[in-house]
């Protein structure tokens, strides 16, 4: 098989496979709830105590406050799985708000900007303030520890 044939064959194979997975319905996209978020946290931070979970309305993301290190964790639904990232002052590149979306941009190319859809714009402002307070607290603890 020449290179063009390999490319055409592979792209056709991808299309066929994706169609088959969708048609058979074997993939079940995750819609995050508190139980799933707790499970993700337990798997990644065994024994961690969860202070608070802020779930996105669309079930695609969550912001989790922990008692300890890390103090703040992002959870995102990734297809039928979940992925988790600790958030710190150093990792957080930008936190912006657009209507009822809180948008997290991390210094991490494996983590595209994450939208956390909340109830309304006021809730976004309140969560942003809580997050900054938590990150400042964690940062102070790190410095004290060092």
């Amino acid at each position: 098989m020449g290179m063009p044939a390999v490319i055409v064959f592979s792209l056709a194979a991808i299309a066929l496979m994706v169609a088959l997975i969708r048609l058979t319905g074997i993939a079940r996209p995750v819609r995050l709830d508190t139980d799933q978020v707790r499970q993700a946290i337990t798997e990644h931070y065994e024994g961690a105590r969860i202070d608070r979970i802020v779930l996105g309305r669309d079930g695609k993301g969550a912001l989790v406050y922990l008692a300890g290190d890390p103090a703040v964790v992002l959870v995102r639904a990734l297809g039928d799985r979940m992925s988790v990232r600790p958030v710190s002052r150093e990792v957080l590149k930008a936190l912006t708000q657009k209507n009822d979306d809180l948008i997290f941009v991390l210094h991490d190319i494996t983590w595209p900007p994450q939208h956390l859809r909340l109830a309304d714009a006021d809730r976004c402002k309140a969560e942003a303030a809580s997050l900054h307070a938590a990150l400042d607290g964690a940062s102070r603890e790190d410095q004290a520890g060092a």
């Binding site: 098989m1 290179m3 390999v6 490319i7 064959f9 592979s10 792209l11 194979a13 991808i14 066929l16 496979m17 994706v18 088959l20 997975i21 969708r22 058979t24 319905g25 074997i26 993939a27 798997e43 065994e46 024994g47 995102r76 990734l78 297809g79 039928d80 799985r81 992925s83 988790v84 990232r85 210094h107 991490d108 190319i109 494996t110 983590w111 595209p112 994450q114």
Partner: protein, 308 residues
Amino acid sequence: MPEFLKDINVTTLAAPFFIALIILEILYIRFARRGGEYEARDAATSVFMGLGSSIIDGLLGFISFGILMLAYHFAPYKLPVNWLTGAICFVLVDLSYYVAHRYYHRSRWGWAAHVIHHSSQHYNLSTALRQTWSGLLTGAFLLYVPIALLGFHPLLIGFCFGLNLIYQFWFHTEVIDKCPRWFEAIMNTPSHHRVHHANNPRYLDANYAGVFIIWDKLFGTFVAERQDDPPRYGLVSDLGTFNPLRVATHEYAGIVKDITRPGLSLKQRLAYIFAEPGWCHDGGRKSSRQIKAEYVARHPEHAGQPGL
């Protein structure tokens, strides 16, 4: 050199069978309601990574082949190609694969290329095709130079390497639980390789074998799959994207970010490139050894078990 070894790329020839088996696996999971899971974007990323790998290998394969030919030129004795030398070459290639694979996991430079193969949270036949785009950069092909110096023709080495990769396809599955005991004792199997793809602390850095699991048993890296600790697949820190470009390059980006940090010594910068994955000068990340040690500290009753 037999003509059939020229212009033959066994992995490309096997591609239609790979796709056919993936389709069969999807149908099996659908109708048997067991045997693993598929996610469309995850599987598409895996096959796309395989396509990229084939293209890059096709374009740059002459470099590694050229170096093997150079080594073969200096071989004091050129072995004939027959069933016996073919079989010996296959075993030697598998041993070299074990060493290369161990290097991929124990040095961040190797890991930066190989992490792609472990970046899916699924374990199915499509995962087998999720291959690196930067294998040449690792220099791991140099581990096959001794085989050429022994007098095995590079075309035979390449052929055996292709067969090795083809063998490795079928065991990326949860459809098969355990194989017959004698087979599990000698050969790499779905059960052994599930352990290799798992991020449970006890399973990290285990079962590097390609075809023969005996290498892991000989060199102390074998860990058996346990029913009381089912494998969780993926990375210690899973990716948050299916984007193939990010999947292919993220560890290199991490290396660049780390070595350009201010205030590091040259030794620390080199360690960020070549030390074990997770090495960190300030304890901000953990290597698999540290992850295992912390797990044992939390679960002292598991201390001394295989992998811990």
